[in-house]
C-alpha cells in the first residue's frame, strides 16, 4: 500500500520536474505555477506514504541511510514549497524537484520493507534526534541552494548580464533572506538535534560524547555556522562573502551526513549493536567498496 502511494508520489515529482524544465525553456509563468502544484501533490503523497510506514513500524521510518535521504528530500521539498508560497516565487520549487525525484526513485529501488527495526533504535530519543537532525540538514540544504543562486545572480548583476537565467531567478534580496532564515532555523534545529543525540548516546553508548567522527564533524559544522551567524549579526557581513561561507558550510554538512558513513567507520552508520545487526543497506554494499575496509 505504502509503496503504491510512493509510486504515485514519484509520478507527481516526475511531472513537476518536467513542467519546471518546460517553464525554464518557454519562460511561461503559468507552467511554473502548475509545476509547483504537481510538486505539492507529490509531496503530499510522499508524506502519506511515509506516514503509513510510520504507523506500521511504530517509529520514524528512517532506519537506514537510504530512508534518511528520502526523508531529507521530503523535508526539503516541503521547505521549498513554503518558500515559494511565502515569497511568491514559484520557480523556487524547481530547486527541489530534481532532488526529491532522484532520492525517492533511489529509495524505492532499494526499499526494504522488512519492517525490522534494530532494537537499539527503539528508544524514544531516536525519532526526536533523527527528526531534528534531518530537519536541520534540510534547512541547510535550502540555504545552500539559495546561497548558490545568490552567487549566480550577484555575479550576473555585477557583470551586467541580465538576460536568460537572471530573469528566471528570484530577486537578490529574496535569495539572501531565504538563506538567512534557513541558516538561522537550521542552526537552532542542529543545536537541539545535538542535545537530543547526546542524551540518546548516553542511553545507548553510556556517554554523552565519545569522539565519534560524526559527532566531531557535526560539532565542527556547528561552530562554522555559529561563526557565520556571529559575523552577520555583529559585523553585518552579507552579500557575496556571506553566500560563499554558506555554500562552504553546507558542503561540510553534506559531508557530515552522507560522506562520513561511507568514508570512515562510525557508530552512526548503523553499527549500533556491534556487527550482529547490520542494517539492510550496508549488506548491499558492492564488493569493491567492501574491500576498502568498511
Amino acid at each position: 500500500m505504502a509503496t503504491t502511494i510512493l509510486l504515485g508520489a514519484l509520478c507527481a515529482y516526475g511531472a513537476a520536474t518536467a513542467l519546471f524544465i518546460a517553464h525554464m525553456m518557454s519562460r511561461r509563468q503559468s507552467l511554473a505555477t502548475w509545476a509547483l502544484r504537481a510538486l505539492v501533490v507529490g509531496t503530499g503523497l510522499h508524506f502519506a506514504g511515509k506516514a503509513l510506514r510510520f504507523s506500521s513500524l511504530g517509529t520514524l521510518p528512517i532506519t537506514d541511510g537510504q530512508e534518511a535521504l528520502g526523508a531529507l528530500a521530503l523535508v526539503v521539498a516541503i521547505l521549498f514549497i513554503w518558500a515559494a508560497h511565502r515569497y511568491r516565487v514559484p520557480v523556487l520549487g524547481s530547486f527541489a524537484t530534481p532532488l526529491v525525484f532522484v532520492t525517492l526513485a533511489a529509495s524505492l529501488a532499494f526499499s526494504d520493507e522488512s519492517g525490522v527495526v534494530p532494537a537499539a533504535l527503539r528508544s524514544a530519543w531516536f525519532p526526536v534526534h533523527i527528526f531534528l537532525a534531518i530537519s536541520a540538514d534540510a534547512c541547510f540544504a535550502v540555504a545552500g541552494v539559495a546561497a548558490s543562486a545568490f552567487l549566480v545572480q550577484e555575479g550576473r548583476l555585477k557583470q551586467k548580464k541580465l538576460g536568460g537565467a537572471f530573469r528566471l531567478l528570484p530577486p537578490l534580496h529574496v535569495l539572501e533572506e531565504i538563506g538567512n532564515r534557513f541558516i538561522m532555523t537550521g542552526f537552532l534545529l542542529l543545536t537541539l538535534a545535538m542535545v537530543a543525540g547526546s542524551i540518546f548516546a548516553k542511553q545507548m553508548w553510556g556517554a554523552y560524547w565519545s569522539w565519534d567522527p560524526k559527532q566531531c564533524w557535526t560539532l565542527m559544522t556547528w561552530l562554522f555556522f555559529a561563526g557565520i551567524l556571529h559575523a552577520r549579526i555583529t559585523i553585518g557581513w552579507r552579500g557575496r562573502r556571506a553566500a560563499w561561507l554558506t555554500v562552504v558550510a553546507v558542503v561540510l554538512v553534506i559531508l557530515a551526513m552522507v560522506g562520513l558513513n561511507v568514508l570512515v567507520r562510525t557508530r552512526h552508520g548503523g553499527e549500533f549493536d556491534g556487527e550482529k545487526n547490520v542494517p539492510a543497506y550496508l549488506q548491499r554494499v558492492p564488493s569493491s567498496v567492501e574491500g576498502t575496509g568498511l
Binding site: L157, F166, L172, R240
Partner: protein, 449 residues
C-alpha cells in the same frame, strides 16, 4: 525679403548648468520676453525653447543682425555681465538651424537620446509663441517639419523606446535586487526631466523618495509632486547611508558620487546592497564604485542594455534616426523652395487668365448678338487652352528652378511678366492658427482619455 531661421542659445553641450539656470525663462518671464524679442531689429518671428537642458531662441529674420541682437537681449534680460554668455552661445543659421531644431525635437540632441519629454516641450514653446502672435510662416513651417520629423523618428526607430525604458529600467533593475520596492529608500540626485520620470516610476512602486539637488526650489517642487522630501546636494554623503537606490541625473561635468564616498558609508549602511543608477552624460558616478562589494553601478548604456541587450542595434537605431532627420530636412527644403515659386506662378496664372478672358470678351463683342451660348463657351475655352499650353513648359521650369534654389529664373520671370509677388505671411499665419486649434483639440482628447 525672405526670412532666415536662426537659433541662438545655450544647451547642455555648450554651457554648464549654473549658466543655463541663469538664462532659463519661466512662463511669466516668457510673457514679457517674447514681445521684446520680436521687436528687436532684424527679428520678425520668435520662439523660445527653455528646458533644464537648453535655452534656445529660434528667430526668423535677418541672419546678419538677429543673432547679435538676441545675444545682447539675453544678457540684458537676465542681468548678466557683458560677454558672460559669449563663449557658451551656439549660433545656427538657415539649414543648420532647421537641422538643429529637428534634432532637438527628435531628442537626438538630448542628454538621454530619445527621451520622450522634449518633443512636448518644443511643441509647448511653439504654441506659446503662436498664442502670443510672435510666429510667422518661416518659424511655423520649420516647427511643423520638426514635429513630423520627431514623429517619424519615434515611430520608425527604436530610439524612443529604449530611452523611455531607461528610467523604467532603473526600477526594473531595483526590483531584481530588492524584490518589493515598497518602503525602499530612493534618492534622486538632480531634479531634471529624467529625475521626474524616475520619480514617477519609483513613487508608483511605493519607494520613499528623497530629492537632492543644487537648487532647493526645484528639488522641493519635484519632491512635492511625488510625495518625497527635498534635501540639499551637500547632504548627499549622509543620504547615501539610508539609500537603497540612488539615481543620478545631473548635468554636472564631474563625479557627484565618488568611489570613496560609497566606500566610506559601507559600514554605516551595514553592507546593505546599494544600486547606483547614473543616467547623466557625462557620468556623475565614479565607475570605480562598481568594484565595491554589494554595490551595483549602472550607467545609461548599461540600463539601455538591460532593456535591449543589443548595443549594436541601438547604435544602428540612432544612426537611422539621424538619417531620418536629414531626410526630413531635405524634404522640407524642397517643399519650402517649391513653395517659393508658388506666389509667382499664382500671379502669372492670374494675370494671363485675366488677359485671355479680356481678349475672349473682345472677340465675342466683335462677333455680335448672333453667337450662340455654345460658340461663346468655345471661344472662352480656346483662350484658356492657349494660355495653359503656353504656360505649361515655363511653369514646370520655374518649379524646378525654385527647387534647385535658382532665384535668377524666378526673378527673370517676374521681370518678364512684370509681376508683384506678395509674401505668403497671411497663409502661414492661418496655418499656425489651424495648428494651434488642432493641438488644443488633441490635448482636450488626451485629457478626456
Amino acid at each position: 525679403m525672405s526670412r532666415v531661421l536662426c537659433c541662438i542659445g545655450v544647451n547642455h553641450k555648450s554651457a554648464p548648468v549654473e549658466l543655463r539656470e541663469q538664462v532659463a525663462f519661466d512662463v511669466a518671464a516668457l510673457e514679457t520676453a517674447l514681445p521684446q524679442l520680436r521687436s528687436l531689429p532684424g527679428v520678425d518671428e520668435v520662439v523660445v525653447v527653455s528646458t533644464c537642458n537648453r535655452v534656445e531662441v529660434y528667430v526668423a529674420g535677418d541672419p546678419d543682425r538677429a543673432p547679435a541682437e538676441v545675444a545682447a537681449f539675453l544678457h540684458r534680460f537676465h542681468d548678466l555681465a557683458p560677454g558672460a554668455l559669449d563663449e557658451h552661445l551656439i549660433h545656427r543659421a538657415a539649414d543648420d538651424a532647421v537641422l538643429h531644431l529637428f534634432r532637438v525635437a527628435s531628442a537626438l540632441d538630448a542628454i538621454v537620446v530619445g527621451e520622450p519629454q522634449i518633443l512636448g516641450q518644443v511643441k509647448e514653446a511653439f504654441f506659446h509663441s503662436v498664442r502670443g502672435g510672435t510666429v510667422g510662416s518661416t518659424v511655423t513651417r520649420a516647427f511643423h517639419r520638426a514635429f513630423s520629423a520627431a514623429k517619424r523618428v519615434r515611430t520608425e526607430t527604436g530610439v524612443a523606446t529604449s530611452a523611455a525604458n531607461v528610467s523604467s529600467a532603473g526600477v526594473q533593475l531595483a526590483t531584481r535586487i530588492f524584490g518589493d520596492l515598497a518602503g525602499l529608500g530612493c534618492v534622486l540626485v538632480g531634479a531634471g526631466d529624467m529625475a521626474e520620470l524616475a520619480a514617477r516610476h519609483f513613487s508608483k512602486a511605493g519607494a520613499r523618495l528623497t530629492v537632492a539637488n543644487r537648487s532647493m526650489e526645484k528639488a522641493a517642487r519635484l519632491a512635492q509632486d511625488h510625495g518625497g522630501v527635498a534635501r540639499d546636494l551637500a547632504e548627499l554623503p549622509r543620504l547615501l547611508i539610508e539609500a537603497d537606490v540612488v539615481l543620478v541625473s545631473t548635468a554636472a561635468p564631474s563625479f557627484v558620487i565618488t568611489a570613496e564616498m560609497v566606500h566610506a558609508v559601507a559600514r554605516a549602511r551595514r553592507y546593505r546592497p546599494l544600486l547606483l543608477v547614473d543616467i547623466s552624460v557625462p557620468r556623475n558616478v565614479d565607475p570605480g564604485a562598481a568594484a565595491l562589494a554589494n554595490t551595483y553601478l549602472y550607467d545609461v548604456d548599461d540600463l539601455a542594455s538591460v532593456v535591449d541587450e543589443n548595443r549594436q542595434k541601438r547604435l544602428a537605431e540612432a544612426v537611422r534616426a539621424e538619417e531620418i532627420v536629414i531626410e526630413e530636412l531635405h524634404k522640407a527644403k524642397k517643399e519650402i523652395a517649391e513653395k517659393r515659386a508658388v506666389p509667382l506662378i499664382k500671379a502669372l496664372r492670374e494675370k494671363l487668365t485675366a488677359m485671355a478672358e479680356a481678349e475672349a470678351q473682345k472677340t465675342l463683342g466683335v462677333l455680335g448678338e448672333g453667337t450662340s451660348e455654345k460658340q461663346k463657351k468655345s471661344v472662352q475655352a480656346m483662350a484658356q487652352a492657349i494660355i495653359n499650353k503656353a504656360l505649361h513648359e515655363p511653369l514646370t521650369r520655374l518649379k524646378a528652378a525654385a527647387a534647385a534654389d535658382d532665384d535668377a529664373l524666378i526673378a527673370a520671370a517676374a521681370l518678364l511678366f512684370d509681376l508683384e509677388i506678395d509674401d505668403d505671411a497671411a497663409s502661414a499665419a492661418a496655418a499656425a492658427e489651424r495648428a494651434l486649434k488642432e493641438a488644443e483639440a488633441a490635448e482636450a482628447v488626451k485629457e478626456a482619455a
